[in-house]
Symmetry: C2
């Protein structure tokens, strides 16, 4: 019953009573009047709502018992293929939609009220038919995990899969990814795949896709538009710029941070504008010259997780550092205060780390601005103990880069050089 | 030779040649023409500059060999008392300026180029003569430490000193404090001294006070103005709102964060406007109703530092938690991802912490926005393991509050209640 896909009991009866089928173009009056296309639903949905896709790309759920009027504008207006057979236009640029999980590939379980990751890349593609007007989409599921469960080994698997596609005919790759740790994955891919010949866009959503006001569809559509028109390589995070649907931002994978728990515009480029802004169909390029210094693609996919991100605070127990030293850690990234400081109470442990030849790098918990360890005597002390100031590298990117640099260097000098080399615009002006 | 205080060799000769004395009102032409008052200098200054205080409250250092013209407007125009005898006007409101160190109470060592904490509260007061036109200032030095070296025991000493002054005739207290950990101290005082009858303003500077473009003087002056006119109690951080000298912000001590390493407007109220804005002499009140729910002053100054702030990231080694458990920690504040998540790899350690009856609270590394652990199954798992969601408490404030709550409660239920009680507007709407 693909023409009623996902509807059952009350909602199925409602469709039949009103002679509605999935794919119909309709006008429905509830609190307001909405025009859009009747969408399929997924298992575990409740039977009290129908879902419309509005012209702005959003899906909206309408409660049956609030619907006052139903008007059919045209039957089967769009090409929604409900049995995983998307109509492809082979003349369009080809892209791969790789799914790793996250809200963007999830649905609400109406029984529990929670969200679970479940949609496949194919489902995602099917629920955003506009994608197929811009690109010719292949889909692939790599994982189905919320991103708080994605670990460095997952980053590696994504990089290896992409490395395997380096000679494909894709114009670019979209990675559907949870937003929680998207910036960490984006940073790793930026380093591991520096010079990769086609753009890579990580896309997530802050509201799940069968929910009113989901940002999933629009983020996906604009990511596809970005890939086709951006004329650059590099790794980007493509998300709403703010609460408006008119602006989608493409952030450099090394300079982006999730700065709000719940708004749709949660992601920000730290210390500057997003690399690109997509204003409806127009793409505005804010990318600095030579943002991406490595032109030859030579993948460096190894990593070593013996790195800790140490956020300093008053009362921080230096014993925590001593424990890291005896647990085999090889590098420490400090998230210091202000211009890059940690208290004197840390000095003995820092000296021990130095003796054990750990790489130590300094970033700031202020997040924005540059570390400068020459201004205060405390900073100069830390320089003497061998801590490397990491300029305006954001702390999370510094952690990821350290795991990557540790995995791809033979000794601590080589690691330090890699840490200070600007690989993927992780240091900005 | 107080009329030439701090000037020596070249700069002293320059003053004598031009018949200039400290306190004179002068007009000096260098790259531009500057009008101001010739200021005293402090030991270790170089002998190649003279320092003018401009009308906007800034001190500017002028290099001798760039000075083209010197014009004396009036002799000894101001009441700069160079021998630590400030002219006090006993009819003005009385305040205490308590110094703990930091850039605001420091000077540049021109030999090394670094900044060291050295000025006393008295020096500070002397170098900002305008203070004495607004308030009648007593001064006291508590510590002389950069704030990265201020520990919870220092917070306690500050609170104890202020508690001792509860029956004084002061209209308010200004605490000169380094900016690095100012937000942590402000949060502790907010909790420990909730209900304190007069306002407490922490003031710092991002540029040292004998440097051109220092923000020290203006922050101090406006803090004094705030104390006299604010008509509130509570603990505030008073700093430049942005790079402009026209706007000084007063942030609630529990909602403020240093969000930039170096700009003068580095401090921000998270998720809202600053409680007050001082626009020149006008004070704009943005404080929400009942921001400060505790009216009776009952100091709770104890604290217990067996609390760790645990920032989660992909690859976070759960063994770090196990080490904290065996090191006697009694509470963990997680800085989770997104709406308040940590990966499944942490679950076993979280369960062990639960068995050991540790208090566990969840905040978000997004910093802005509210934790919500009901949306995703992972969040609901963590709730089941006994982690308490801390709404929009910022992570650093949550850490400080946990140290305070642990010190001032008998058992974990009591601690949890304290953590969730809105004591000093640490939870905002």
């Amino acid at each position: 019953m693909s023409e009623y896909r996902g509807y059952e009991k009350n909602s199925l009866a409602f469709l039949k009573d009103n002679k509605l089928k999935v794919g119909d173009s309709v006008k429905i009056t509830s609190d307001l009047t909405y025009s859009g296309i009747l969408m399929p639903r997924y298992e575990s949905s409740d039977d009290e709502h129908i879902v419309l896709k509005l012209k702005n790309g959003y899906n909206i759920g309408l409660e049956l018992n609030k619907i006052k009027k139903v008007e059919i504008i045209s039957k089967n207006h769009t090409k929604i293929e409900t049995e995983s057979k998307i109509k492809k236009d082979s003349s369009l640029p080809k892209i791969l939609l790789l799914s790793t999980g996250g809200t963007i590939a999830s649905k609400i379980d109406y029984r529990t009220g929670g969200v679970t990751p479940a949609l496949t890349a194919e489902d995602l593609n099917a629920s955003v038919p506009e994608l197929n007007e811009i690109v010719n989409v292949d889909t692939e599921v790599l994982f189905s995990e919320y991103s708080e469960n994605l670990m460095p080994e997952h980053w590696k698997k994504i990089a290896e899969r992409l490395d395997g596609l380096v000679n494909s005919d894709y114009h670019g790759i979209i990675i559907a990814h949870g937003t929680d740790t998207m910036q960490y994955t984006a940073a790793f891919l930026s380093f591991a795949l520096a010079g990769y010949p086609i753009p890579i866009a990580l896309v997530g959503s802050q509201r799940s896709s069968d929910r009113p006001s989901s940002d999933a569809a629009l983020n996906l559509i604009q990511a596809a538009r970005f890939i086709v028109n951006c004329n650059t390589k590099g790794v980007f995070v493509v998300m709403h710029h703010n609460e408006s649907d008119d602006l989608i931002a493409c952030h450099l994978g090394t300079r982006v941070r999730k700065n709000h728990t719940s708004t749709r515009g949660a992601f920000e480029t730290i210390g500057g504008d997003p690399a690109f802004l997509i204003i409806n169909k127009k793409i505005e390029n804010n990318l600095k010259d030579n943002f991406f210094k490595i032109n030859d693609y030579k993948p460096r996919i190894k990593l070593d997780t013996h790195v800790a991100l140490v956020k300093y605070y008053p009362g921080f127990d230096a014993g925590i550092i001593d424990n890291l030293l005896s647990s085999g850690y090889k590098a420490l990234i400090f998230e210091g205060t202000g211009l890059g400081h940690i208290g004197k109470s840390m000095y003995d442990s820092v000296k021990k780390a130095r003796e054990k030849k750990l790489f130590m790098g300094m970033t700031s918990q202020c997040i924005d601005g540059r570390v400068n360890m020459n201004v205060y005597e405390s900073g100069r002390d830390l320089l003497e103990f061998g801590i490397t100031p990491l300029s305006n590298l954001i702390p999370e990117t510094a952690l990821v880069k350290a795991m990557w640099a540790l995995g791809n260097s033979e000794n601590s000098d080589e690691m330090k050089n890699l840490m200070l080399e600007n690989i993927a615009s992780e240091f900005s002006d």
